[in-house]
Every structure is written in C-alpha cells, then in structure tokens.
Symmetry: C2
Subunit: 437 residues, 2 copies
Amino acid sequence: MIEYRNLRIALLGAGSVGAQVADQILNHGDELAARIGAGIELIGVAVRDPKSQRAVDIPAHLITTDAAALVRQADIVIELMGGVEPARTLILDAINAGADIVTANKALLAHHSTEIFEAASQVGAQVYYEAAVAGAIPIIRPLRDSLAGDRVTRILGIVNGTTNFILDRIDTLGESMEDSLAMAKKLGYAEEDSSADVEGYDAAQKASILASLAFHTHVPIDLVYREGITEITRDQVSAARQAGYVVKLLAICERVVSADGTEGVSARVYPAMVPDTHPLAAVHGANNAVFVEAELAGPLMFYGAGAGGVQTSSAVLGDLVSAARRHVIGGPGVAESTHATFPIVPISGIRTRYHISLEITDAPGVLADIASLFATHGVSVESVEQKVTSVDGQAATATLVIGTHEAIEADLAATVDALEASAVVQRVVGVIRMEGL
Amino acid sequence: MIEYRNLRIALLGAGSVGAQVADQILNHGDELAARIGAGIELIGVAVRDPKSQRAVDIPAHLITTDAAALVRQADIVIELMGGVEPARTLILDAINAGADIVTANKALLAHHSTEIFEAASQVGAQVYYEAAVAGAIPIIRPLRDSLAGDRVTRILGIVNGTTNFILDRIDTLGESMEDSLAMAKKLGYAEEDSSADVEGYDAAQKASILASLAFHTHVPIDLVYREGITEITRDQVSAARQAGYVVKLLAICERVVSADGTEGVSARVYPAMVPDTHPLAAVHGANNAVFVEAELAGPLMFYGAGAGGVQTSSAVLGDLVSAARRHVIGGPGVAESTHATFPIVPISGIRTRYHISLEITDAPGVLADIASLFATHGVSVESVEQKVTSVDGQAATATLVIGTHEAIEADLAATVDALEASAVVQRVVGVIRMEGL
C-alpha cells in the first residue's frame, strides 16, 4: 500500500492563535496524522515582523515574510492574520492554486464571504471557519450540517467575550463601566483600542456569519444593525437585576414575518435585558454561548470559551483535520448553501419588547398623558413602576419605568421621540430592549 | 446544465421519529432539495405492521414490509427501526449495494460499529448517526470533526431523558421514585418496560459511542460499567441537595492514566452527585446535555432536547442533507477515526470521590475506628458529618456521612466491605460517587 505523501500546511499569522496552532502541528503532528490518514508538514509561517515576540517559539527556518509565495506551495492554508487585506488576496490566490482553506477571519468572511465561497465552489476547494465565531465552541458545523434539515428560527448569541466580561463584572461586582473596561484591558481580554468589541463591530461580523449560515442566505454586514455597550450604565444593570433580568450584548439572528406576510431575516447586535432564568443569563466572564431555536429541534445551547489563543486553536486544528481528511480521500468540498434569498429586515421593522426609564414631573394627569402617548403610537404598555425621587418646592420629580408588550421598533422610536418632546417628561434616561422571553 | 437526478431515499421504520422524518421529506422536500443541490424522493417506508397507527399519515403506496428489497433500490437508507436485527443485516446489505446510511440506532452502533464502519470504509460509503446520542443536540459532528484536532479528556453526559426527568422530579418536587416513574410513563417519557432507561442500558450504549468517537478508539459496550437509578432514594436526593449537590445519571467517558503511567480510557454510567453550581445541575426535565472537556478548548457544553420524535427528526434530517450533499458532489465518506488503541480501564481502576452514608452505634471511639478503617484501605476522608438519630436505652444510633478525597474504586469497595463487616456499623445506607468537581 502506497502511503499518502505529507500534506503541506502553510500558516499565515503567528499571533496568539497562530503560535498555538504551529506548536500543536510541530509537537502533536503524529497524532493529527493518525486522525487524518496522512502525514502533515508545516512548510512555513508567514508573519509581518520575523523579530516579534511570540507566545510559543517557532523554528526560525519556517518563518517567512513572503506569504504570497508560501500559499502557492501549500495543500492547506491556515489564515490567522485577521483583517481584510492582504488576507483576502492570499486566500483567493491559494484557492486558485488548488489549496483548501482554514480561516478564523470574521472580518473577511463578514465582508467577502460571497466572493470567497464562489471562488472555492468553482474549483471544489473547501473553506472551513469554525474559529471565526465563538472561539472554541463548535457552532459552524452544527448550523451548517447538523441543523441543515431543520429550520432555524432564532439565534441569540453571546459572541463577544470582552463585552460579556465587562457586563458580568458590572452585574456581579457592581463595578463601573470604566473600571471593568480597564480590568479587561489589564487582563488582556480587551485591546488598547477597544472599539471593535465595545461598539459591537466584532459581534456584528459574527451575526452576519451566523445569520447567513442559519438561514441559507447572504446577510451582508452593512445590513446588520449594531449598538455597542458604551451607553450602558451601572444603574441600568443593577435596575435590570432587581427586575429579574441580566444585561447581555446579544447577536440576534431571526426569521421575521412582516405584517404583509413577507418572510425576511434580521441580524442585529445590541445590549438587551435577558430573564435571569434564561440559560444565557448564566454565561459569566469572557465565555461565549449561542442559543439556537429551530422548528424541529427546539431550543439548543452551545457553551464554552469564546476567545484565547489556546482555546481557539482547538477550532482551527479541528478544521485542519477535516480539510486534510477530505484532501486525502478526494472529492470536492461541500459548497455553502445560500439558496434562500430572504430580504433583510431593517431594525425599524423588528418586533421586540422594551424597557424605558423616564424622569417625569410628578403631577396629577402626567401618567395618563404618557400612557396616551404610548397608545397613540401603537405601543402597548405591559408594566409601569413609578418612584418619587426628589421634591423641589412645588415640583416633584419621579422616575417612571415602563415595560412594553411586543412592539415594532419604528413605533417605539416614534414614541421615544414624542416622549422627548413632551413637556411632562424631563429626560428619557434609557431605552433597552428585552430578549429571550 | 444537466440536473442531478432525484436521490432515492428509503426509510426503515415509521415510529415516532420515522413518521416525522417521512412527513418532513414529503412536505418540505423542496427546501431540503435546495440545500442539497438535488431533488430527493422518498421511495418507500418499511414497517413491520402496515396497519398500525402513526403520528403522521404516510401515503399507503409508500408503505412496504419488504425492507430487504427496498434498501437495494436506495441511494440513501435512513434506518430508524432500532434494535440489532434486522437493522444490522439491512444496513450491511445497503452499504454493499452502494447506499449511504443515516441511522439513529444506538444499540446497533454500540454492538456492531466496527463491522459497520469497516464495511462502509471498504466501499467509501458514508455512515451518519447524529440522532443516536442526545436526540436533537449536535454532538457527533462536534466530537468527530470540530474537536478532531484537540484531545478530549473527559465527557460528562446527561444522555437519557427519562432518568433525568425522574431524578429532576424527585429533586424539585420531592416525589418518590415510584411516583416519578409512573408520571414518566404517563407522559410517554418512559416505556412500560422501563429497564433500558432506569437500569442505565440506554446511557451505556451512548457512552460506548461517545467514548469511541472522543478517544479515537473502540470502546466495546461490554466494557462500559453500568449502574442504573433504581437504588436511588428520595432521602439520598434531598440529602445531596442540602449538601449542595444534585443527583444525575451520568455517562462518563474519561482518559485515565494508571499508577504505572499507562494511558487508558474509561466509559461508565452511574448516578452521581454533581455540584449545584455545575452547568449540568441546571439540566431539568427530559432534557439532555453533554459536558466536554478538551485539552485546548477547555470546557464546552451542548444542551437541548434529548428525545421526542419531532426533535430527533432534526438530527436525522441534518444527516440526510449531509449524506445527500456528498452523494451529489461525489467522493467517498470520511472513515471513522479509530487509530488509537487504548486499553479500557475497568471500574475498579477508576479514581473519583465518594459520599458514604452509614448508620453507626454512637459510642466513644467509634468514629476513630471507622476513620482508621478508611485509612487502612488507603481512602482519605475529606469531610465527616454526624447526627444522632435515635437513642434506644443505652445504645444511641447516629448517621454518619463521609465524603472522601479522590480514591481508587477498588480501595473504596474494600472499604465498604470492611464497613459492612464492622461491629460498630449497623448499616451502609448508601454509597454515591461525586463527579464534576
């Protein structure tokens, strides 16, 4: 029996994940080979700066700055550089040169998945990207394969570890946003420029990937609605906790039926109040979890480490073994399934529930005024809680917390505009959506 | 462009899962076809009794009792009959006739996986079995593919919905074992003969499948240690709860290093005390969850519905789409990875912690006697709690609850034998293992 030749593996990037992947291939290559059915050989590691310090030593002769030359010699290219370019060009070149692809690049997939999947499909190349969403947690294969015979109706995902770490500290330790963010930076959970995390850009990219997979349709990143956690206050988090909720930054992917019966999908990211009995409420620290609802399967949850070089290398190496097994036994990769062409419903068309805090002038008739203002805009009030907070001469100020039934976002927005314009409302303190009910 | 011909699907069995699968193929065939890239046609449904009542109507012309003839005409055979024969013969015939296989048959896989995977490998056929373990929860692909580059160290699984339903009612409602079992039968969670569930046979089959997959080795069902829940009492469950634990029937798959450094694996099923803070403790009702620990990924959890015809059909249909996609694009199935040949460690060689309840004669020196008896057998005591329970003239009886440090099962068993023989011990009330610490 002829032994299959060694598979040639090229690694692009040697950051926290890449260095671990190199280490595993170099030190556990025999075990991986046994699972693949052929030997593997790391033929090179492309880096920007050969001199930079790495978590794990990589033999100097493997290091190169010529990524373009490296990918043309590989059977399988593992792309862990991040960012759109040069990753996009290198991956397209590698696909056209006959390589299969493993990538953890969520930004690239969120912006250019159509182009990449199309190029792969043309030549029968495989593209794996388990590490692009929720780190070590297997979520891509479950959605792409295990649930391919079902209809996913909704995904609620905690897919950004940094923001979950911050919100969890505010909730459990009563820290301020500033202190939690500083701690996240100190512990390496957040980068110096934390905007990709705290503004929700990272989660939005993952929402685009998850929604596209789950609904067999293309959900462009520009159509993912996004709000970060920067406006969230300690008071809001503690008020939510007292009301039986936990504030989480959620990536939400949902099938939506409009009033006229049109089916569409929504992908959106915002901080939301989740009931404290919901499984997502128990996701602490920098962990991730993806809660999936499907017509047949019912609710499912996938939980684990959402970040970390070592943890994420697990997902990358799983993809490597999958790509290599197929490379050895032959046959093309399975193309992405994007047969559905759902319209993407904008945030204004979404139905959800809201929690609105107001400072109002406490006088007879004010509550009726405010209630009628909600009614005028078609938003039905479910609960009202009023507390007198200060009395200044004749004028008393009260805090009013209003929970709504399900309402259309556009109606809610119009209600909030009207509240802000109202003479009896001193201030709209906060508006937060409620999910997972 | 020539359109791929319809794929011919044969269904064996039309019970609670099979009827749902037929219904989905018949009523959502277009959606499945779009995801597959080819049409599918249900060519027949083999049943034992054509006249029996089904959850979903199946057109009479599809019903047949000649399963042997049916499988020879199929591209993909979905086997949902359960039991070893005739399922085994039909699947082997189908493989040799060129079909790919989707099965939910845990008993068959636990007893004959080697034979079936070998036959499939010979001809490049695919065998999918996501529905065989934990119903709708995607766990097979995560273990087989997503974690294929990692090293799984331990699995703790709640993989039998019936026993979890029963134990959960005892815990949360304070019901007796008898009442909970009766309710499980009434609600259809348990069959009239409940021994496969309550004696742990079902969970043991799943442990064999999970351990084989996770450790890339063959773990025969006869080497899976098994205890059911029939000895568990309401008192035990409530005492555990008071001590901060929940009693769960666990399927445990573990990599074990013996004292002499030999690596092996263990697969075992027994009721165990799990800390109430462990994610598995929050798995209620008939739900399932699989908690996986891997060297790189760290802890992961997969949660959802473990049974139910509709829910389980999700897993079967996902497998159908996977098998059909590969059938259309060509190339053989990926063979199972069983390169490792770990010895299976018997229960006597397992290290875990124990919780032992004794009725003792409460007299000076008794506690010292019992403590030295543990020490003699090499079992280290971690906690002791004593309560005087009755005083009868001169002789007082006390209940003693002893928690141990990690100990070898054989040493613990010898300790229990010695306790039973001891003059100061009136009765060994219960011994229960502790997991997930």
